[in-house]
Subunit: 260 residues, 6 copies
């Protein structure tokens, strides 16, 4: 989803000459990564990419950075963090495919002359294959006699603990279970209310899982709706708070990281 306010930071919406000129200032390049994955009957399946893009756009804007087109397909959904691969619509990549995407894009961005990249991840399951893609790219860059600095972050790790506590009144179920639940629903209400069907919000009990994972995935413990924790209390207002506080923390951390 391209938000008009941030379109001028999208690399795919600018010409190569404009991009070349902006590179002279050594901007931080943002790569959002999401998934195409069930998010309950009330949220669109592209939710993880949409939220990662929204975070990246805002932070890039604050830091005068640029933004690459998001990766909209991610790693395989797991029962305890996304309901698993049993839902129609969830469209996932092999780990090696996602890793290769990241490696290839980083290799190219370095060829352009960029040296600072932030990968903003919006899908729990992506994390390790992104990490491997970064590692393979850096190994190859070392062979080529160059390097770059890459930050990989899951955006929710910046959301202030105080914000979470006040929203959940002390009962935050953890990031994994917060799939298609209060946090994501609130942020989507704040950003794209037309894509949220609140009326479809289920009354399912939250997901419940043993200490282990079972394969083939069989849906045990996964609510039939795919919503892993209660989302009834979601609101656009909460979404705004979540986005603003998370973006502020990211901006602060990345300013520090890149000495901006």
């Amino acid at each position: 989803m391209i938000e008009a306010a941030y379109a001028h930071r999208r690399i795919d919406l600018m010409s190569w000459t404009t991009y070349r000129d902006r590179l002279a200032e050594d901007p931080v390049i943002f790569l959002p990564v999401g998934a195409l994955e069930q998010h309950g009957p009330h949220l669109p399946m592209g939710c993880d990419a949409i939220l990662a893009e929204a975070m990246a756009a805002r932070v890039a804007d604050e830091l005068d950075g640029l933004q690459l087109p998001a990766l909209r397909y991610g790693y395989k959904s797991q029962a305890r963090s996304g309901g698993g691969q049993i839902f129609p619509g969830t469209t996932s990549l092999d780990g090696a495919t996602l890793t290769a995407m990241v490696r290839d894009i980083l290799r190219e961005v370095v060829r352009h002359g960029a040296r600072r990249v932030v990968i903003v991840n919006g899908h729990v399951e992506n994390q390790w294959f992104l990490t491997e893609g970064i590692d393979l790219a850096l190994r190859e860059l070392a062979h080529a006699g160059t390097s770059m600095k890459v930050v990989r972050c899951e955006y929710w790790n910046y959301t202030p603990q105080s914000v979470l506590e006040s929203m959940f009144e002390g009962a935050f179920p953890g990031v994994d279970l917060e799939h298609a639940a209060l946090l994501e629903t609130s942020m989507m209400l704040a950003l794209h209310p037309q894509l949220v069907e609140l009326a479809a919000l289920p009354e399912d009990a939250p997901g419940a899982f043993p200490g282990h994972d079972v394969y083939p995935q069989d849906g045990r413990g996964v609510p039939a709706s795919g919503v892993l924790a209660p989302a009834r209390a979601a609101s656009a207002e909460k979404g705004v708070t979540l986005i603003e506080s998370t973006v502020a923390a990211m901006v602060k951390a990345l300013r520090c990281e890149f000495v901006l």
Copy 2:
């Protein structure tokens, strides 16, 4: 780029329950594929994906199909069809990466229950790696005891010869050289004029290449602007004609192909 008129066909903007329900009608699923590649100083680098998406959206709308998020990174640019990998901004994948993307997505779509897919390609260089991805997916599906029907098309192959002849007055330079030139510029003017900087249009002579390709790419024969053929005559009006005639031909061909 999501065009509002077609947003309701985007799989990533619908919930899994909506998708599941629509699948019952055995819709054709469209997967647009483009690239992030220099398109001269006047067009955005995401041009190939934007045009493939626009074509796919219109055809899907006519055929009551659904549309997957586009692949926005493509295979390596070649001198004679995109100026080559020497431009900053051109961000390309290894062939195996693109092939794996297609294979993975087709595997998942079949798991959902879909059996009819059209890959709409907007980047010359993608064609063979898309083909390989389809072949690998079909081989794997055969092992799994199932199958699907996949159409792969380059959208420009549907543009009526008569339209091209009238626009070029008999001097059509061929699809390869038509990179960032009259056709793409016209269609972008018709679809997203705000993304076209006509003032930046160069006066370069067209690209000129020997009978072979040379590696490492050295830029010989490639106009400095990256525009491979004259684009001065581009207009939104021509763009509308191109889009409408191409879409009409695609709709007709695919109706026939899928007996719709």
Copy 3:
């Protein structure tokens, strides 16, 4: 480390005829997975494999299962969970290598006739590549017209919350930071005290990390010793409690999972 009490469950220590005969009872097969990774100046680098093996051996013994040789090399160490790849001695695999190991072993175990496998993981960073190996094996098995049931677990997820709380007096720093720290040191003291050099235990402050990860890894936030949280309070007694309570919970959960 082969503990004499459990050696009779080791597949590599029995003949193929013995193994064949035991398979008739459809035993659960355990595959421990660890790493070769720095664990501070006081613990041996094979710690993760040793602990995973110890857990697996005890649980297998309770459930009358069999045990495969452990995988003693794991995925790349990350700063926040193992200090990262900057330490000499840490000897890690590419993600694809670990994934292939798991896929190949599962394929073979099914050929033998086994249908129930538990992968006991002792190294945080392995989790997702193990998962991918399981998924690739199951996909291939489905092509071959067969299947199996695989459980993947990180053993620490079974440690009762009450045990952790009493040991940390409410200040459990989380599994990631508990690298080479109180939990692992205590269990090693209980199992193999001769491999623990308590005198070498450092006085480092605990690890401290931002919300993101930075690559190339630069050691920021990692204590010089590689110990990520205080280990001073470790004791063999605590180790016994940890092992016994964890094993008991695993036994209970797996009995339920496999209807034993």
Copy 4:
């Protein structure tokens, strides 16, 4: 097929000491690439390799170059350019296999000390996987701190337009459809008449295809004989003209390219 007149240029027919001595003059190394693919009932299936070898041998002879053994297996046949994978006898490689062959051979040739290679392609479908093989080799060579110059050509791109026009009387159907047809049949008659069974030449109508490709390939539009365009007018005399004019143009272009 080794033609006696050119055998002294074949690297596989000379000793390593002879090869080493000739390398001192920095010769251009030619690598012909073909396929094992149906070529109608009248031509042998190795046709593409035989013709690529014949072209390469003659050009190498003019330029005092050397010739590697041809790659005799190529990428998968497509309906519109070779009839597709539905014919017995067509024996094709995965794209990644062909790419790896090219990468490996280029890596070795550079180790020998050669720096100039021409890949002469005789099979339409090979082109992009050859290109990828060249790119991967050059990337690796850059890591090793060296480079080379590689030309990839499809030999038919050098055939003078005037020759084609006079032969087809203005109705040249395009390179793709010219599979097992007038051009290839004529050249085979000129080179190896004993391998051509003119009596078996079919009366099929030419191939006819929509704007897209369909998978799984189903043979639609492909003449039953596998001959995609009329070949009746083929003659050895035309073959001589084709070979001589094409070789002359290649020699001229490569002399210029390599400053010979």
Copy 5:
């Protein structure tokens, strides 16, 4: 090298219709595999492929089989069996590339309807990667619900011990050291004397190696000529004896194997 007497068995020299018709008799398909590797100053570098082809052609002729084009590039030369990768001219493949070639070709041959293949290997170093290629093909075929019978042989294993003993007078140095030496030189003299430069035969002492292999290869123990054992006693007469006795043994063994 195509020998006229056997050309009618070459699949690449027949049309697809001829091949299809011959397949009806369920012929054994022969795939020779060699290498491009130094063979001393007196033998051509394609020696291993030439000899494997010659053996395959004669055996195929006796058994009414068919012959595929040889693989003329093989696995990396080792010091003790081919002098190693230090010679210019030796042009070798990664193991995975050779494995993929074999897998792909077997997959295709089965699609044609053939079910019996003999791989005739002429290069010591190829053996295990051929084996892996066969294994991967058979695994895939099993997934596709079919199978085939594949024989892999090194042709020298059929040479009668009595023949070797009489030629070497009890001092047979073993197959590995017999590189570019008495056996290969004699057979080449019998088959293609014009490709042998006896005058260039070196006086080097034989190769001498420790119990282990050292990497990077440094040429220790390898005679400067690349000839690993004395070849002075080579003669065309011996070559005829070797070829005839080896072929006879292969024919006998394969008749038995395939019940011909």
Copy 6:
């Protein structure tokens, strides 16, 4: 199997600080490689790894070296050297997996600062995939601007011919057939008599194979027990002689190789 006398040389049993300190003396690092493979009804399936470890430990001790954890899974068993993949319990890797394991471990050991590695192989079938792993690691290290010296050995190649002749009274059947037979049984009796069930020793006739290998493996020629040659004459005393003479020869050869 960790033998107490050599435990202090095991890298996985020392801390990273100890390892770091010992690296200062540039020790030779030993990596034993075995397999999980049937070894008859009287030997444990981990036999190859156990023996490779025992050899490596003794040699390392003599040369003041260090020892990595063994690779306990190897390449696929072949009929003539291990009975083949038809036995339950034999648990083998794809060639590419074993190759990747070796490449990854060598890469890491170089990062630690080590430059001398000996791979001690105990499983015939591993040899070529180990070699490929070494080659790929050295290629990559060259790209990174560094190198190392790697020795790969099969331990039995050091056993003095005189020892074999006296034990077999001139009838040594060759290394391949000596699977689970006199040599391995004797050495296991010397090292771990509790793991040998002499009573289960079969009376099978030895394995008998044609000049070729057949796939799919069908067990022809393989004794039902999996023991490929007579083992009745095995004794602990012979085992001691074998181990001591082999170790002595290895020590001598490696002292020379590494100038120790």
